[in-house]
């Protein structure tokens, strides 16, 4: 009796040993019923509605929705490592900045087309995630959070000081007009489409991963890493892949953001408040679900824009107060609260507050 050679730990984790990918997809199609296919239908409906909406609104509003789509993608990316896998990274902005600078440097210094620079940016993000992920993902809890925060600050400082390549603190400009431009500028409608597709892809990736064998491995690592290792999950591989997938989405978002901004500085694209916003959107929406980060990103970005327009200098104060109140009243996230409350018919918010109280 001969044993089949193992396909390696990555393939085993991703696909399982007994099923081929084709078989899984066939099973998935056959298992569709009207009751369990509504998220897919709803997803396509929302995507189509957003496409239609673009024809009805002015460019200013398109710009606003573009930033909403950006944060949907970022929140979904953070949720993969922070929500599902349970490793609260406070350095995801490092990948955003690296993606942005890769595109800018390639387009500005080497006149490479945006569509070539984009995949390079994603590869750079993934490589950096693997390089820092292997040592740092051994740390747990706050230690991981602080180490990733340090990695992001360090990445910014390196970009800041490599003046000959990146322009340093003086910023960098992507040529967008005339014969200088490697790729013509998309304009507001173009970026609306680009970020809409990016958001849709990130939601789809998150949803597919969440239902896959790999998704359950991530949740197992989150619930109890030692137990996950004991049942045969290679926890290091799972953590590093989750980190790398998250980094790929964030780097992609950074690449589009760079092209949209045209001119930016290291402090703009390595701004720690991007990371904090990702975390806030995921946690307030509900971490470890696909709908949670989506709702959190849409809700908070619209709220923050509304406050900025209507409250002037008070907007940050009110924004902070809202974060405090939501954390206290819905510690598990608004979407998860509503889901659990609907299932158990227990709507008391006071009971909810008692959950984590001392």
């Amino acid at each position: 009796m001969t044993q089949k050679p193992s396909a390696g730990p990555v393939a085993e984790v991703l696909q399982g040993r007994s099923r081929s990918t084709q078989g899984m997809f066939g099973d998935w199609i056959r298992s569709r019923t009207p009751a369990n296919s509504w998220p897919v239908v709803a997803g396509f409906a929302v995507f189509a509605a957003m496409l239609g909406l673009q024809q009805l609104i002015v460019p200013g509003t398109q710009r606003l929705l573009t930033s909403v789509f950006l944060f949907v993608a970022l929140a979904q990316a953070w949720n993969i490592i922070g929500g599902y896998t349970g490793y609260a990274s406070f350095g995801q902005v490092a990948f955003f900045g690296l993606g942005a600078y890769t595109v800018a440097v390639l387009m500005n210094n080497y006149h490479v087309s945006f569509w070539v620079a984009l995949p390079v940016a994603v590869v750079v993000g993934v490589l950096f995630a693997v390089v820092i992920g292997v040592p740092l993902l051994r740390l747990r809890g706050h230690y991981f959070a602080i180490a990733t925060l340090g990695a992001a600050e360090g990445a910014r400082e390196v970009v800041n000081n490599m003046t000959s390549v990146t322009g340093g603190g003086g910023g960098i400009t992507i040529p967008t007009f005339g014969s200088e431009a490697p790729t013509p500028y998309f304009g507001k409608p173009g970026f609306y489409l680009a970020f809409l597709v990016l958001a849709a892809v990130s939601v789809a990736v998150a949803a597919l991963i969440a239902r896959s064998r790999f998704g359950y491995a991530m949740v197992a690592v989150h619930e109890d890493e030692d137990a996950a290792g004991a049942v045969g999950i290679n926890t290091t591989v799972v953590k590093v892949i989750a980190f790398a997938v998250s980094a790929a989405i964030v780097a992609c978002a950074g690449a589009f953001y760079a092209f949209q901004q045209i001119e930016f500085y290291p402090t703009d694209v390595f701004d720690a408040s991007f990371t904090v916003l990702m975390v806030i959107m995921v946690v307030i929406g509900g971490s470890g679900s696909v709908v949670g980060p989506l709702a959190g990103a849409v809700g908070l970005e619209l709220l923050s824009q509304f406050l900025r327009v209507n409250l002037g200098s008070f907007n940050q104060l009110i924004f902070g107060a809202i974060i405090v109140l939501v954390v206290v009243f819905f510690p598990q996230g608004v979407v998860i609260y509503l889901r659990d409350a609907w299932r158990t018919r227990q709507f008391s918010i006071l009971d909810n507050v008692r959950r984590y109280r001392l």
């Binding site: 922070g82 609260a88 406070f90 820092i132 040592p135 740092l136 051994r138 740390l139 809890g141 706050h142 230690y143 959070a145 602080i146 180490a147 925060l149 340090g150 990695a151 600050e153 360090g154 400082e157 390196v158 800041n160 000081n161 003046t163 340093g168 904090v276 975390v279 806030i280 946690v283 307030i284 200098s313 008070f314 940050q316 104060l317 924004f319 902070g320 107060a321 809202i322 974060i323 405090v324 954390v327 206290v328 510690p331 507050v353 959950r355 984590y356 109280r357 001392l358």
Partner: protein, 295 residues
């Protein structure tokens, strides 16, 4: 050579002050497992109280310290008792987010009250200095450094000698067992946060005396410094914060001498990450807090 000695001396006095910034942060993190994003904002709040006392009533900043400490202790106690205790059992990033939200509220509140201008507390002696050989030592920074040293020693003695200190330590080690011994964890947590806030306020007052502060950039810088120092020194370790502060202070001032631009910041971050990977309990910390089961 004299340039080198001058930088080292400046690093030592700056390091003592940074240690005082971090000691409260480290205490809260070590005992309650809360990373307090609003630590820098509390320090700047203390600085504003001292600044107002100084320009309105002419109070010397060193005499204003008791007032600042009491005010911030009360503020910290209420904050912990009324707000942070509500989510203390939640996953770590919830307490991070809560303190981040508090940070936004405090900072923007201060900015609306006092504008975003740079402020400093002027005294006749802070900018004066005396010379040891070729090295100039400013009085203000030296006094601030000694004050930081004194407060750290007093805090360490309180933690090891008094009933309150024992109660705080016990609650940090095992809250369940501590409660069974009759320790009121809610009250002890609030007192711990109050002490940390008071220390932050004192540190902020000193920073305002030897340099300048504003509500937009100073708090973030202080919180980041406190992060690095706490990790370097080890959590919940009073002397660790002081050692971490001295290491950072000397490294930054010598690095500023040897390296161009802001490479020194990149190196500080590399040191932070390497320390975390190799020795997560800090340079002189015990393994206790690092290895503790998070409940």
């Amino acid at each position: 050579m004299s340039q080198f000695l001058q930088a080292a001396a400046y690093g030592v006095v700056q390091g003592g002050l940074l240690g005082l910034v971090a000691v409260g942060f480290s205490l809260v993190w070590g005992i309650m497992n809360v990373v307090n994003f609003s630590h820098g904002a509390l320090a700047v709040t203390g600085a504003y109280i001292a600044w107002i006392l100084n320009i309105r009533f002419g109070v010397d900043p060193f005499l204003a310290i008791p007032v600042v400490a009491v005010a911030l202790f009360a503020f910290g106690y209420v904050l912990q008792r009324g707000l942070i205790n509500l989510v203390i059992n939640a996953p770590i990033f919830l307490t991070l987010l809560l303190t981040f939200g508090l940070n936004l509220v405090i900072l923007n509140g201060l900015q609306l009250l006092f504008t975003a201008d740079d402020r400093t507390i002027d005294t006749s002696y802070a900018s004066q200095s005396f010379a040891i050989g070729a090295v100039n030592v400013p009085y203000g920074r030296l006094a601030a450094c000694f004050l930081a040293l004194g407060i750290t020693v007093a805090l360490a003695l309180m933690m090891s000698r008094t009933r309150l200190g024992h109660a705080i330590g016990a609650t940090g080690m095992d809250r369940g067992a501590a409660r069974l011994m009759g320790i009121r964890a809610r009250h002890i947590y609030a007192v711990t946060f109050g002490i940390a806030a008071a220390l932050a306020g004192v540190a902020g007052t000193m920073i305002a005396t030897v340099g300048s502060f504003n509500p937009t950039t100073t708090p973030g810088q202080l919180t980041l410094d406190a992060f690095v120092i706490s990790v370097l020194g080890g959590l919940g370790n009073m002397y660790g914060a002081l050692v971490g502060g001295l290491v950072l202070g000397i490294a930054e001032s010598l690095g500023g001498l040897l390296l161009t631009g802001t490479w020194v910041n990149a190196i500080a971050m590399a040191v932070l990450i390497i320390t975390l990977v190799i020795r997560p309990s800090g340079l002189i910390g015990k393994a206790m807090y690092g290895g503790r089961v998070e409940v």
